[in-house]
Symmetry: C2
Subunit: 212 residues, 2 copies
Amino acid sequence: MSEPRNCQSHEFPWEGRGASLDITGARFSIYPMDNSFASIILDSILMVNTDKVYSESDALSTVYRGRLKHVFDCMGAVFLNSWSPGLHLALEGQVSKGCPGDSDADSYFTEDDVPLNRPNLTVENFSVIAKLALYPLGCPGYLDIIGEVIRMADREKLNPKIIHYATRIEGGIFEVLDFLEHVSAFAQDKSSHYVLHFTISAGSPTREQPYS
Amino acid sequence: MSEPRNCQSHEFPWEGRGASLDITGARFSIYPMDNSFASIILDSILMVNTDKVYSESDALSTVYRGRLKHVFDCMGAVFLNSWSPGLHLALEGQVSKGCPGDSDADSYFTEDDVPLNRPNLTVENFSVIAKLALYPLGCPGYLDIIGEVIRMADREKLNPKIIHYATRIEGGIFEVLDFLEHVSAFAQDKSSHYVLHFTISAGSPTREQPYS
């Protein structure tokens, strides 16, 4: 298998300013399947140190914008803050960079990559299942880039399985969050504009047959 | 604004058999924010008449594959079956067609477009908010195609608003489901391979400032 070709903006006709901005964004929603969902969601968002990102929440979702490291640090902290043993909790998210229509509004940029949240959390690792789908946009060679993601998951020991319309993985929450950050870094290296969609689920009572 | 260019498979180098198959698929998850989530999810899925689609559920999500009309009919029925006044309920989904790697396995194809579920449901229309993001893949002119979606939402009176990484809409659940089906039909007409991601939310207790 050959190395995926790069698909940077000079190869496609969209040369909007957005594609040259170093602003990564995440839009995500968190779903605690529990009668106390409102306080779980609000408390977990309020507990996040957002000093290094732009943040905005509405009834549908929360957006963080800034450096990749901090966007993942903050989004991961919301999930980690929300979780408690016995709760069925899901996070649906997208991480993106390089939309030609993007602007530098609504962003916050720091020079450093020192995360403010995860190093200070006391939660221990726990098992999750997840699925992800990467979309390099405007890029004829997109399937090669997507194919590399499966090999990355394999190298990171997340037991990837190709399912219809996505790749499924399983592992500890820290390893899964790290992997999604690695995929984002890989995608921004290979494609001027990418979107990564994912779902992380913990504590589902559904018992499945093991897959190999 | 010019009409978006078509981006059919002859224009890009991926000519896998999948792109020529007439199989639309949906992968989605439903999140009832309630202690009874397990029975709400399972009952709503079991109530769906899946005679005209291939269906598969696991701990993360459910897949339907077949004709566009039936895929939307079944997925919409899960949301409509799950809902009750006072419940905060969300559906996260993706609808896709034309992945060059797709095969005709795991699909069910009928010639007719007569839906088996929604005409038989007694649930009345209710208000939802939703967001969507369309990805025409392998397609240098993808932004023109995406731009048309906002105009479609405007014509269908769903009050579209461009937000970071998505378009937000609001309206009755029937109109929102119909609109997502219209966007899928439009996308398959314009692009050999597309993925449409969306989130539908009902009954959120979050009070927002009205937006115009």
